[in-house]
Amino acid sequence: MSSLFGLMLEYTIPTLKIFAFTLLYSIPLGMVVALLKMCRFKPISWLTNIYILIMRGTPLLLQLIVAQYSVPYIVRSELCPAFLKALLENVDIRSEDYTFNMMLFAFVLNYAAYFAEIFRGGIESIPKGQYEAAGALGFGKLQTFFRIILPQVIKRVVPASSNEIITLVKDTSLASAIPYMEIMYIAKKQVPLYASLMPLFMAGVFYFAFATVLTVIFSYVEKKLDYYR
């Protein structure tokens, strides 16, 4: 049993890796997407909206699988432009890096869409008077955004973002279907070997503990940000 525990523990690392890298890229990207969606140049706003609709309207599992297996089809397609073909032909689709990167690509695009909507809501909830006060005091556009607006947005988006981040803890398990060897994949594999539900139980405990730790951290952060209303 202790060897099973050791094995499971080892495969929490890839899970944590998906989790950390997805957040690392999707949060800043989500901010950019939010700003693009609010862009006053309508075509950009529409395109961004279509991207968000697709990401939120189709299963993450489907997106993960499409990202993983679509490159060979794209290369073979007649519609594929030459430069893209040249770029993609040299990709080794059997390498471990490729599997991880394409998976991360799907996770990041998916989560950025959700974060973008959270951030947009946060930005739009800041009263117009804040912009006007900043303008009247001579702050430039960037100064206004970074010094006046963004700090207030952060406080407002923490509850919704923490919800999203805790969902990501559990969504990482979808990687097992690609397949990518993380804790869920290993747990499923070990069930017949041990003729026991123990591996699944251990995986469950891991997700639960991880999500609980995050819940505690976020409630602390919310409290910390509660110094003003």
Partner: protein, 254 residues
């Protein structure tokens, strides 16, 4: 010397003309009150002068600089960005809803613009801010957040914030309208003191008694037009126009 000169200013939202043929001057050290019923264009006028709204036509001259003036083809145009910014720094604006930055302490609210915009040292900005807070009787609140203050205190902080940039002219957009009647007194007192110090001010207000006491000149607006302008004695006297008398009679005790 006129700090603010407005000539034939007009502004419309779509087909609705909210400002028509507005012309007046504000001399240095003068306190001008703008009164009139709701929807008369008082706030829009202030928002055009402080660049929060785009004006339609006419001339706005602030601190001897054309901010908005007729171009070669006769159509009024704005000055370049740098000029507009320079003008902005010479004007201060106090809002009806204060619009303090809720995530900053009172002190930070006042020092942020001098430090970030005027590039003053933090120490210098803080010294000025503390001086202003002393004047406002809010020295002890420097480390508080706006949400911990009463409405009257918040409005005093926002006045201090505007004064921290050392503006040549200060605009007030209904500074007491969001306050309890009990709290309006403290704000009016502060504005009176500023007037006594020779601050140039334009005050949009519904406080008629205050306008009469403090203003050197009163502008009465209705329907986007200036109906009458002049010294308080004139507007509040027997020779005022019928419309002015009718409007003022609704404010009892005046």
């Amino acid at each position: 010397m006129a700090i603010l000169e407005i000539r034939n200013l007009s502004k419309s939202f779509g087909s609705l003309n909210v400002l028509n043929d507005i012309s007046f001057d504000v001399e240095k050290g003068e306190a001008v009150a703008v009164i009139g019923p709701s929807g008369s264009g008082k706030s829009t006028l202030l928002r055009c002068v402080t660049q929060l709204e785009k004006a339609g036509g006419g001339t706005i001259r602030l601190c001897d600089t054309d901010m908005f003036a007729p171009g070669p083809n006769g159509k009024s145009v704005y000055a370049d960005k740098q000029t507009l910014r320079d003008i902005r720094l010479k004007t201060g604006l106090v809002f009806q809803n204060f619009n303090l930055f809720p995530h900053m302490t009172v002190l930070r609210n006042i020092t942020e613009a001098p430090v970030c915009v005027l590039k003053k040292s933090r120490q210098e900005a803080q010294d000025t801010a503390m001086e202003l807070l002393r004047k406002m009787g809010l020295e002890s609140k420097a480390k508080s957040y706006p949400c911990e203050l009463s409405g009257g205190q918040q409005q005093r902080v926002s006045i201090a914030r505007a004064l921290a940039l050392n503006p040549e002219i200060l605009f007030f957009d209904e500074p007491t309208s969001a306050l309890d009647p009990e709290l309006t007194g403290e704000i009016l007192k502060v504005i009176k003191e500023l007037a006594a110090d020779g601050m140039t001010m334009v005050i949009v207000t519904h406080e008629m008694g205050f306008a009469r006491d403090v203003a050197d000149k009163i502008i009465f607006m209705e329907g986007g037009y200036i109906v009458e302008q002049g010294e308080p004695e004139q507007l509040f006297g027997d020779n005022a126009s019928e419309r002015t008398k009718q409007f003022l009679s609704r404010y009892s005790g005046v």
